[in-house]
Symmetry: none
Subunit: 212 residues, 4 copies
DNA sequence: CATGAATGAGAATTCATTCAT
DNA sequence: AATGAATGAATTCTCATTCAT
């Protein structure tokens, strides 16, 4: 194999942006820092992406396109609801593993109100939810339809939880993120979402019948 | 005694800070905006909190003190594991209901690397995790101890999920956040965490035995 | 002896001011720092001295009153020109030893243009020069009267030189300032001013007659 | 290549800085004032010099490079000690004449403790003293080596004395600084340093043998 | 494509001072 | 005599962006 081809400027910029946005948040980073990491001139950011917020738009857009693809691919397979959920979770974890910075940016910026990208975010999220509901939740008979908007975000938050707290966890527990971790993570989150704590642990005391 | 404080500037400042931090993120807000909303002179922020990051420290500290209190209170009652979890979730939701801005700030800033508060965050989180594990998870017989650091964050993310995506959800679904919502939210998240999708919905189609 | 009486606020303030002005220059210090060192409330500075520049005025005024006193005292003794100069130098060094901060402030602020104290400085300096010329230089027959305004400052600079560079010298050479130093300093500066390098060192090579 | 620099902003900035630093002291000037005089945008100061203290560093560094050059040039000539001293003084006066602001800044800031430049100052001064001792004082047989650290600063202070008190002198005596002044200054300071008051004036009264 | 100087607005913070208590 | 909250101006520095080269 030859020498690794050096990525072009615009790619380096967006990667550097994802790197910093995911660690410091959009507003916590300057284009200077991004340009420096990408080893390009500052003006190149405006040149390629039309400004700082263009970077965020590009990142968020790419994130949703990946998730949408997963949902679409899943729709085409005819899996049982449980299988579909499990596979979705695993695909998502794989996506995060491959593009951690990108995914974290999208998730971190979700609750942040940034006028320039709000409409984009809403549009993409709306479409994405439609696709996901289509491919996942029609297998379930959810009594109260209002629960949809609770379960949806809960599902996503669950999947991301390990990565959002990742850095702190690492600093606290010293746990390292290897591929064994991803496997374990995938299984645990799937069990949790499908069967709750029941799927993970048996109460070990004289627990009586629970009254919910 | 000095000039009489008009109504309590420092309180108004911290509230304004929480308001904006929760919506725009720490770095997305300026002290000017905060001071304006709090109707105080800009320099009062430094005067009372020693600077912008002092505000964040105060907020994060308060958040953890609340959560710690909940955990401690729970420890003193002797509840079954399921009961304890359910009650913890409800208490947390109540806390979020009462101090939404404050809680959201703490959660939003969790994955953000801000050198000035990193050590504080770690210290508080470490202590908080100890208290929570003490009061909650000793009722469960978790096979692999490594799952702790997956379940912990998952649990917290689950509880917060509705509020993190809250604004977007509101814009997309038009759902309004009334006290019925909190009740429903509490129940749904509890079921989900305790029993997973099984606790919420029965598969309605030709679902065969699942293989996990 | 009883316990050392704690100096009153206004004294502590002026001492703290001299301490910092002599180290950081007038503009390099804030009243906060001064008040903190003096252990008084910030407003006390304005209360006692009418503001920050009042502090400098007080310091400069005191410095000149000391130097004037020395000159006046010298006038009353009838000494030879050499004796007078030597004694003046020694008295000045003694003054600096006793009130180093105060003297350094006066000297440091001499070349600094600070509108609020310029007229004060000029008035005091004019009067001081008159007294000094009276008490010192009428013993010398200085050919060109224009040399007066060269020799005057040179004389003062010479006396202060060791203290102006003091801190740097200490850091570079490790020399410590004990009372032996003051003695040696006094002698050396006196010799230098009276006899030049000739008074201090003999050229050690085959130096021929000098042509000035 | 970027936009063509108009006439040389960075030079105008450093000159404006020297102008103000020499008159008001480093802390007494704001970058605004400097930028205004240099007719550049305020941010250019940080752009070129990395901040206000970068300006001072540049000025101090340049000052020492000039003085070092003089010392080095002198070393290469083989002059008698007296000749060397005289020439050094004249070269210094010439330097001050040409770059008065710059030199005054260096001298004024010598006793000021500014953490950001302390180490730079020490390093430069140490090196400079080595060069000066090398080129000047090996012609003299100074009995007590401890006198070195007295004579060194005294020498420098002497040379600068006229310029440090310059403004005040001008205001008091009305003397104007023309090239005749520099000539006279040079001669007077040289005489003073080499032969002391003896070199300048003969005692005119009943002076007896002096006892040092 | 790429550069780097330049801009002007805005960032956070610190300043000396005042004033009601 | 002393306090400390409050003010508003001024501090330095950084921001994203533009533009001529």
């Amino acid at each position: 194999m030859g020498k690794k081809p050096k990525e072009d400027s615009s790619t380096r910029i967006i990667q550097a942006a994802a790197y910093f946005f995911s660690r410091k948040g959009f507003s916590g980073v300057g284009v200077r820092e991004i340009a420096a990491k990408a080893k390009v001139n500052i003006s190149m950011v405006s040149y390629y992406y039309g400004g700082k917020s263009g970077l965020l738009k590009a990142i968020v857009t790419e994130y949703f396109s990946h998730v949408d693809s997963i949902a679409i691919k899943l729709s085409s397979k005819s899996l049982s609801p449980r299988e579909a959920l499990k596979e979705f979770i695993c695909e998502m974890v794989y996506l995060i593993k491959e593009k951690e910075d990108l995914c974290k940016v999208a998730m971190i910026e979700m609750p942040i109100e940034l006028p320039e990208i709000t409409s984009l975010k809403i549009e993409l999220l709306k479409n994405n939810m439609k696709l996901m509901i289509q491919s996942l939740s029609n297998g379930f008979n959810i009594s109260d339809p209002k629960k949809h908007i609770i379960i949806g975000p809960a599902f996503l938050s669950l999947i991301f939880s390990g990565f959002m707290f990742g850095n702190l966890i690492k600093k606290i527990s010293g746990e390292k993120i290897d591929s064994a971790f991803y496997k374990r993570y995938c299984d645990t989150i799937s069990s949790l979402f499908l069967d709750g704590m029941n799927g993970i642990a048996k109460p070990n005391k004289k627990e009586k019948k629970y009254e919910n």
